[in-house]
């Protein structure tokens, strides 16, 4: 397994650097926004990966509710944590892009606002996991994840309608995408997905090790107490 990991790591590194090169150089410069539009190739794929991770978190939480399998719980924790990291990237690159183009740091763009709300929900998810002192923390976290997922469509529609009342510039530009830009976007997306997979896998092993160590320590203090 170790060998497979390193091969994947090298491949991801290659893919990432190629996609970076493609985004900065190969992709054509957009007429209206100029070079700054290239932020698009990092901003949008990060958002897609974040949403994918949160989707996996929801599925893992439902599985945990049904089967109470620790594996599902750890997957839920890991995807939430890494998802928040990718979400932070989106929330930082968004305003950096909006500033030069529209002269404002924040715009109630549909995707950007949805990412912000999701970020808030999953940060509260991680806070709950850290502060919960009950032995049933995974269960409480799973319940919160399900509530979060139920909230997403409501958030989507409320912001969508909110935006029709307060028109705001759209980040990432809707409309048809020039195919020469399209493949660069997709290659970055794949690179980010591979990166996300690597980070999740490492974080998963770390969590498993951490829980084993805590258990061993607890068992030991119990034994020492008994002697």
């Amino acid at each position: 397994m170790k060998r497979g990991f390193t091969i994947l790591a090298v491949l991801t590194a290659l893919l990432l650097s190629f996609s970076l090169y493609a985004a900065l150089v190969l992709a054509p410069t957009e007429q209206t926004m100029g070079n700054v539009q290239r932020i698009f190739y990092y901003h949008v794929p990060s958002a897609w990966v974040a949403f994918q991770l949160f989707l996996i978190n929801f599925v893992a939480s439902v599985i945990y509710m049904i089967r109470r399998s620790t594996k599902a719980d750890i997957v839920a924790l890991v995807t939430a944590e890494v998802g928040v990291v990718f979400c932070t990237v989106v929330l930082i690159t968004g305003p950096i892009w909006a500033r030069p183009v529209w002269g404002i740091w924040w715009t109630w763009d549909l995707r950007l606002t949805l990412t912000l709300v999701l970020w808030l929900i999953y940060v509260s998810y991680l806070v709950l996991r850290r502060f919960s002192s009950s032995s049933q923390t995974p269960l409480l976290a799973a319940v919160l994840a399900i509530f979060g997922a139920l909230d997403v469509p409501l958030v989507y529609f409320s912001i969508w309608f909110f935006r029709t009342q307060h028109p705001a510039p759209v980040i990432g530009g809707g409309g048809s995408l020039d195919p020469r830009m399209g493949w660069v976007l997709v290659s970055n997306w794949i690179a980010f997905m591979a990166l996300a997979w690597l980070i999740c896998w490492t974080r998963y092993q770390l969590e498993v090790a951490q829980r084993a160590v805590h258990e061993a320590e607890a068992m030991q203090s119990l034994m020492e107490g008994a002697r």
Binding site: F131, S132, S133, L144, S158, F161, Q165
Partner: protein, 224 residues
């Protein structure tokens, strides 16, 4: 039907205790008054402007009052671990949740009823749109906060920083409901747009989360 008797008994017990001790009521009344006065100092707009921002102010003030009330939901049950007495009994979990949620709703609605005249006075509010629709909006909006609030108050029982945990869990999820309440109120006050969409959103929000709370409350209650 035991379900109803338990709900009624728990609700009656809570109201009687609240009426008897009154400690929470007085604290919250004073807190809400403070919130209204401070908001009025902070924002002193002309009549036209006030109609535009009053919706947001009123609901943020109600949100604060609700949070303070929701934090008290399980205080009495915690004092002598009375919750264990309920959990040991054959009574199902849902009546307890419903009684607590309705109790909170009555409590927060009372606070709102007292704060509203102050807002009207301080901001010289006169709705241009159909004013009567503010009632269903208030009911739907308050229930949206209270049903999730009671649920998350039960969830934060199992955490260390209980008082801060409730808002942390409740606010992100309540964003759609808050948008609904604020925008529908503003729509009616300014009379420019129709609040129909926002009211529909609030109804959807209430239905979705009331169901989720009823289905998942037992899991949270039993999470020893």
């Amino acid at each position: 039907m035991n379900f109803l008797t338990v709900t009624r008994a728990t609700l009656a017990k809570d109201i009687r205790l609240e009426w008897r001790s009154k400690d929470a009521i007085n604290a919250m009344l004073f807190f809400s008054l403070l919130v209204v006065v401070i908001f009025s100092f902070a924002f002193d707009p002309t009549a036209e402007e006030s109609r535009r921002i009053a919706g947001g102010l009123v609901w943020v003030a109600f949100l604060f009052a609700a949070i303070v009330a929701l934090n008290q939901t399980w205080a009495r049950e915690l004092r002598n671990q009375v919750l264990d007495a309920y959990r040991v009994s054959p009574a199902p979990a849902i009546p307890l949740f419903l009684a607590k949620a309705v109790g909170n709703f009555i409590f927060v609605a009372a606070l709102e009823a007292l704060m509203t005249p102050l807002f009207i006075a301080f901001y010289r509010l006169r709705p241009l749109g159909p004013g009567w629709q503010l009632i269903p909006i208030a009911i739907l909006g308050t229930w949206a906060l209270v049903v999730n609030g009671t649920f998350f108050a039960a969830m934060s029982l199992r955490t260390r920083a209980r008082e801060i945990m409730l808002p942390l869990l409740l606010f992100p999820l309540s964003i759609p409901a808050l948008l609904g309440m604020v925008n529908s109120t503003t729509a009616i006050l300014t009379g420019e747009t129709s609040p129909a969409f926002w009211i529909a959103l609030l109804v959807a929000y209430d239905v979705v989360f009331t169901t989720a709370c009823l289905l998942l409350f037992e899991t949270v209650l039993e999470a020893e």
